[in-house]
Symmetry: C2
């Protein structure tokens, strides 16, 4: 199975992807000085490179509450044991699955996907624990928020990463790309 | 009081400074390929710039167990409510204080210190919570260890940092320098 599972995510310097209540207000450091041509930190290029997204129910429901659905027509697999609400307008591109990560990957392979965008703290952690994450693009926001939802969690073993590149953006965002070899 | 409190520390990519038992074996990524002239990641330059060190008892006792005392003749203030063992050979340079961070800083000012190296997870967190940290040099080791002693902890408020510089070293270590303005 030659599917790449990739993570593209921002954290506070103390490693959180959101406050405890899910808020990501702290991601926007300085709204006064937004350029007319806004920097996207490589997001669009990454997004264009994936065939589908996999995320947990919590992340899905946060994104569903956005004013507009941000993933165009790209397939989104939502991992949930329950029945999250899927608006009629999105039913052609959202799939609810209750399966384990390896089964999800098998399903993605059968659908012909090559690269999957894995999103959401718990989902990323589950895929990491199973050795299924191929690469991580991690952007560090220069702020400490003290507590929140952590990106990383417990692991059975150490996971070594290969550093590929690091880039500094305006406002002090530091973005590093890592490759994980454990899943090879 | 014009004292700079500075942090120079390495963490795993998931934010730990040591394993739960204090072990830092994971800091050495690849002992097979150590150069004859070993890279010190700017440590000696940083060390030479500080007048003294402040650390907690846990860190002190880990360092005391090293084969050689690594801080030359530099004054070391150990924060402890108790009576940690101080070998006779170190009694001229180690001071035990049970005081709060601001009192420690007052004491350092009276001794004419300008820049202090704050070390150890709990001590760094206490100084951060009181707005006493001036700058942080943070080196990210490309490994996830899953659990351990975290560098950062709870805060009363968000702490915004100014990114000063980022440098990539061999083996994928990413070192960023940040300035904190809250303590100004």
């Amino acid at each position: 199975m030659s599917i790449q599972c990739s993570v593209f995510i921002a954290t506070s310097l103390d490693g959180f992807i959101a406050r405890t209540n899910g808020a990501i207000d702290w991601l926007s450091l300085d709204t006064d000085s937004v350029d007319s041509q806004q920097e996207d930190y490589g997001y669009q290029q990454f997004f264009d490179s994936v065939d589908a997204l996999v995320m947990g129910r919590n992340t899905y429901e946060i994104i569903l509450a956005f004013p507009t659905w941000p993933y165009d027509r790209k397939p989104v697999i939502v991992l949930s044991q329950g029945h999250p609400n899927v608006p009629a307008s999105l039913q052609d591109r959202i799939e609810i699955m209750a399966a384990a990560p390896d089964t999800v990957m098998q399903h993605c392979a059968e659908r012909g996907f090559h690269r999957i965008y894995i999103d959401g703290g718990q989902t990323i952690q589950r895929f990491l624990r199973m050795g299924l994450i191929h690469d991580i693009t991690l952007t560090r926001i220069p702020i400490l928020i003290g507590e929140g939802i952590p990106l990383f969690g417990a692991l059975a073993d150490d996971v070594r990463l290969e550093h590929l590149s690091t880039q500094v953006f305006a406002q002090g965002l530091v973005q590093s790309q890592y490759r994980i070899h454990s899943g090879d």
